[in-house]
Amino acid sequence: MDNKKLELTANEVRKGIVSAVHAAKAGHPGGSLSSADILTYLYFEEMKNIDPADPKRPDRDRFVLSKGHAAPVLYSTLAERGYFPKEDLLTLRRIDSYLQGHPDMEKVPGVDMSTGSLGQGFSTAVGMALAGKMDGADYRVYAVMGDGEIQEGQIWEAAMFAGSRKLDNLVAIVDNNGLQIDGKISDVCDPNPIDKKFEAFNFHVIHADAHDFDSIRKAFDEARATKGMPSAIIAKSVKGKGVSYMENNAGWHGKAPSDEEYQQAMSELEMK
């Protein structure tokens, strides 16, 4: 898929996020929009042997959304990729919907791991990568985590293990939008320097622009070419990317747009 097509696809994913959160009157748009391009690239370009008709194919690449509150971006990407009907996005968080507030692997086709409690998803991705190594399988495992999420100690337990075991089939992606619920990550409890931390845990560290498909492609290619150690992509992103009034605003971490705000967001996205 060329960059233009990826951009258009990511824009569709963003519309799905905004529509779902608006319909639910709750959810997490900011961190969903910041990782929309990364997930689009993963599901439309990077991940191998994934098949909406056979979501549990044993040889598929796996994806774990460790920052599980960004469920809308995962659902919207999966729907765009054909795992379930796009109109179901409008049932997000409803009592009769399979689209739970946080991803549930038992309910949603294409979700490889239930997540939501921060810090836990990355360990499960490490377990999947380890299983691949034990079985001599070729699949790769991708985990997206938040830059606030990495304040959880479990992330570093998992990183230590992955580095120690040289899991080069594992790619950790940090959605580095710089904001968490209570404000700037640097003000709340500064996890920087993130790159040096992953380096110290024996990861190959790659910097990328989370909203530039050339940069994203280059990063994932470099990760794939890296042998003997896991890779960490520090993806510099903009929280709320694509909706002007949400961009770089921690207030849009976990809030739904009003009807008027929804109209504005959709018209901004339509113009792209």
Binding site: Q120, S123, G127, F161
Partner: protein, 316 residues
């Protein structure tokens, strides 16, 4: 059923765990065993010796170990994640709850060093809350075997069961009471070890032997105690418990666990619903353990045969 009360052969259920893992490992390549730097103590070292490539030491990181186990399970492995009860059920509680049980993944959490019989290490390492913590988690099966024969059978049953299982194991060598040739383990089915008419003693883990000894002493005085071994705390054998309670009219529970939320809690919840009966709980009062030899601690906490006998005498 043949029951050996001689106490001549003693084996810790953590040893049973290590040995059962090797048995299962020989037949099932999907079995993988995880530990958090306690392989020598949990006895997964026995498995490591036989199958080093399937033994994963996660280092001192129990939370991560549970997540890794969950990830392995999604790829078709059957992981047994091992640590002391304090760290498996306590420290990693939320990982067990969210990554393993909520997902319904096929992970077994095998926790050794449960209860005060840990001994000298003292309160920080003596988990008397694990049955309560694990029992309250939806989809979780909770096993608490009494001796070596039952523990090995429980490990096999956990392996064959599709879904999360917590298995409570001990450090202390305890009498082997069952005859392996005739023993059958079924998840959720209690075992009547001794029939009686005056009261029902419901015990779990190493308290099964102590309860049987107490029942012997009661019998000498003409008191007829029925003794039931509840090796599955969840799902509880409610039918068997209600039937026996209705017959004897008096129930005593015995466990090496807090009186809050464990066997006593489970039995009382069940009887309140099915067969309201007066129940005496014998276990650890609302307090921490302490250092001392396992034997001395069990005696001091009133959890040996004599302590059980005395409390029952006062009760009936």
């Amino acid at each position: 059923m043949k029951i050996d009360l001689s106490g001549n052969t003693k084996i810790a259920t953590r040893d049973s765990y290590g040995n059962a893992l090797v048995e299962i490992g020989k037949e099932h390549p999907e079995l993988v065993v995880l530990d958090a730097d306690l392989a020598g103590a949990t006895k997964t070292s026995t498995f490591k010796k036989a199958f080093p490539e399937r033994h994963i030491d996660c280092g001192i990181a129990e939370a991560d170990m549970m997540g890794i186990a969950a990830g392995l399970a999604t790829c078709g492995k059957v992981p047994f994640a091992s640590s002391f009860a304090m760290f498996a059920a306590g420290r990693a509680y939320e990982q067990v709850r969210n990554s393993i049980a909520h997902t319904g993944l096929n992970v077994k959490v095998a926790a050794t060093h449960a209860g005060i019989s840990v001994g000298e290490d003292g309160a920080t390492h003596q988990c008397v809350e694990d049955l309560a913590l694990m029992r309250v988690i939806p989809k979780m099966t909770v096993l608490s075997p009494a001796d070596d024969v039952e523990a090995r059978a429980a490990i096999w049953a956990a392996f064959r069961h599709d879904g999360p299982v917590y298995i409570r194991l001990g450090r202390l060598a305890v009498p082997v009471i069952y005859d392996e040739a005739e023993y059958k383990f079924e998840i959720g089915k209690g075992i009547v070890l001794r029939e009686g008419t005056d009261l029902t003693i419901i015990a779990t883990g190493l308290e099964v032997y102590e309860s049987l000894m107490a029942a012997e002493k009661l019998a000498e005085e003409g008191i007829s105690a029925e003794v039931i071994n509840i090796h599955t705390i969840k799902p509880l054998d409610e039918e068997l418990i209600a039937k026996s309670a209705a017959k004897t009219g008096k129930v005593v529970t015995v466990e090496e666990h807090s009186l809050i939320g464990g066997l006593y809690g489970a039995v009382c919840e069940s009887l309140a619903k099915n067969a309201p009966t007066k129940v005496l709980g014998i276990g650890v009062e609302d307090r921490y353990g302490k250092s001392g030899s396992a034997k001395a601690l069990i005696k001091e906490f009133g959890l040996d045969a004599e302590g059980i006998y005395n409390k029952i005498k006062a009760f009936i």
